[in-house]
Subunit: 341 residues, 2 copies
């Protein structure tokens, strides 16, 4: 049976939300895996006591220190060796667990994952991707979204290769399509780095490692033209955070217009409720909590990172994502493909 | 009286839309300026004949060649010397006109503007910015949005300085606030280029050239935290095109949900019409046609560029923007401030 370590201290709503999500995952899955919840006992145990966990595959492990959202990643990893983050990952390294899950400080989790678990042989730089909404079936992932700000062309190529493997084996997409995010579609557009990345991506396509569509532009992302959108971490991070701000922005504009209609008597309350439901439904494709979180690709082990804002549902889905990564042997496939080179 | 040259051949709906926008601008403004419409006579004159232009300050000038959307900028400028684009800008250079307006090939207009008009002394690289929606009063401009993909720190600083002048003198914002688009708020975040840009922007602030807020992130753009968001052309272009694709994306999602409600009888047609109006209203802040277009900042003359999709209303507003740039003496102010250095 698989063992998944869950960081009870990670996330804006930790530990309460993390405990709830963990209990939900075990209940919903019928104890399909074991969970080790790790964190400060004085914070976690009182909350855990409120749940009936006697029938669940759940154990609690005390870790005296906590890495906070404000901690500087490289420093936190060195100075907080007894944190739930570092101790949790060490359980994976020691093969006492198969995966680690946290919604805490992303930078610190990246640093700790690299430090404790290391890289899959052949990986230049581990990376982190994000899910984007799209109109049609399927999914769109953007890579990198902030782990690597100064990318070289060969890094972008490896991101595409790793995500192709993830989508093929982990998401069941037979032929993932890669697009290089650029200022125009034509070959020869963009900076020297992008021109070089274009050439290398074409070579990777010819070698059968990826399927390369060529350059794509900002307006192609939501259209779902590519299932893998490759860019450096600055571009990806900006697009990700910009995209995340859209539902709230439009929600405010929507509420203003709705209030005006209701106040002026042009719309009755019943219709307003119906319309609000319609508005909410419109943002269903923006619901990335259904994926919960994402793995650090390229790390020699499974470390799933979630949004700081994660709800219990997101935590639950992160646990499923961890299970999925193990079962689909994504890391083994990455090692095989990169070793071929 | 000011003279504005309008490129009749520029834009997806040219020349019809351009002619309509030009006529509207003259009618609405009461012939406040002179317009020289430039383009291929066999395309323009038949359409012009449909309008009563006898009372308008409008003259037509034939230019035998056309720069198309597919033309490669640097080549088009050299090989199509008798195009409406090149000839129109030459009228400005020869002081026979005060400004040039086009909704054609942006890259070619940039190249031609630089080639024919040159740079304002002291300007390292002319730039192009875009308008972004925001919740509160005021405006948000992002710079650069594609004219400069490989930026050095000193370029970003000049973009901020030029846009500060534009917003102060051209848009009446007393103290424009500049933010550096980055992956995190803290000083020291991002690539070497961004770290260096941060230091130089701070110096420009201390020298009183700009007001620098520090780093901002993707989710701060729509919040309107800064009125000037500085980034390199790849990031800006991607965010711009991504942003432009949102109304259509959400419109499709909205229509799907609405159709389901109407078909299932949960919403009557009258309410559906009301709700559709509400949805459209929500996107009012995304209407950038009210600005029509933007000037190339740093070019020694006034060259206003519009979106290829420009409607007649956008063309009209681009003409007003040209008038505004002349009257507010934005270029003179840029020359003064950059010369001080």
């Amino acid at each position: 049976m698989l063992t998944i370590v869950v960081d009870a201290m990670g996330g804006d709503h930790a530990p309460a939300c993390v405990i709830e999500g963990t209990v939900q995952a075990l209940q919903e899955s019928g104890n399909r895996f074991k969970i080790v919840l790790i964190g400060q006992s004085d914070k976690v145990e009182p909350l855990l006591a409120a749940h009936d966990i006697s029938t669940l595959n759940l154990t609690f492990l005390h870790a005296p220190e906590v890495v906070t959202m404000d901690d500087i990643p490289a420093i936190a990893v060195k100075t907080k060796q007894e944190s739930s983050l570092v101790n949790g990952l060490q359980l994976c390294k020691a093969k006492q667990a198969d995966a680690f899950v946290s919604a805490g400080n992303t930078g610190a989790q990246m640093a700790a994952s690299l430090f404790v678990l290391g890289r899959i042989p052949g990986v230049l730089r581990p990376t982190i991707y994000a899910y984007f909404p799209r109109l049609e079936e399927g999914l769109t992932n953007i890579v990198d979204v902030g782990a690597n700000v100064d990318c070289k062309p060969e890094h972008l190529v490896q991101f595409a290769e790793m995500l192709t493997i993830y989508q093929r084996y982990g998401a069941g997409i037979e032929q993932p399509l890669t697009g290089l995010l650029n200022i125009g579609e034509e070959e020869g557009k963009g900076s020297e780095m992008l021109k070089q990345a274009y050439r290398l991506l074409k070579e990777a396509d010819q070698a059968g490692k990826i399927t390369f569509l060529g350059n794509i532009e900002g307006h192609d992302i939501l259209k779902g033209k590519a299932s893998i959108v490759v860019c450096d971490g600055l571009v990806g991070n900006t697009i990700l955070k910009f995209g995340e701000s859209i539902p709230e922005f439009l929600g405010t504009l929507f509420k203003r217009s709705l209030d005006t209609l209701v106040t002026s008597g042009k719309m009755d309350k019943e219709t307003a409720t119906l319309t609000t439901g319609l508005f909410r439904g419109m943002f269903e494709p923006f619901d990335v909590e259904k994926f919960g979180g994402v793995p650090f690709l390229g790390v020699d082990g499974i470390s799933i990172v979630g949004h700081g804002r994660s709800s219990s549902r997101a935590i639950k889905n992160m646990i499923y994502m961890a299970e999925h990564m193990i079962e689909k042997r994504v890391n083994e496939h990455i090692a095989e493909v990169l070793f071929e080179k």
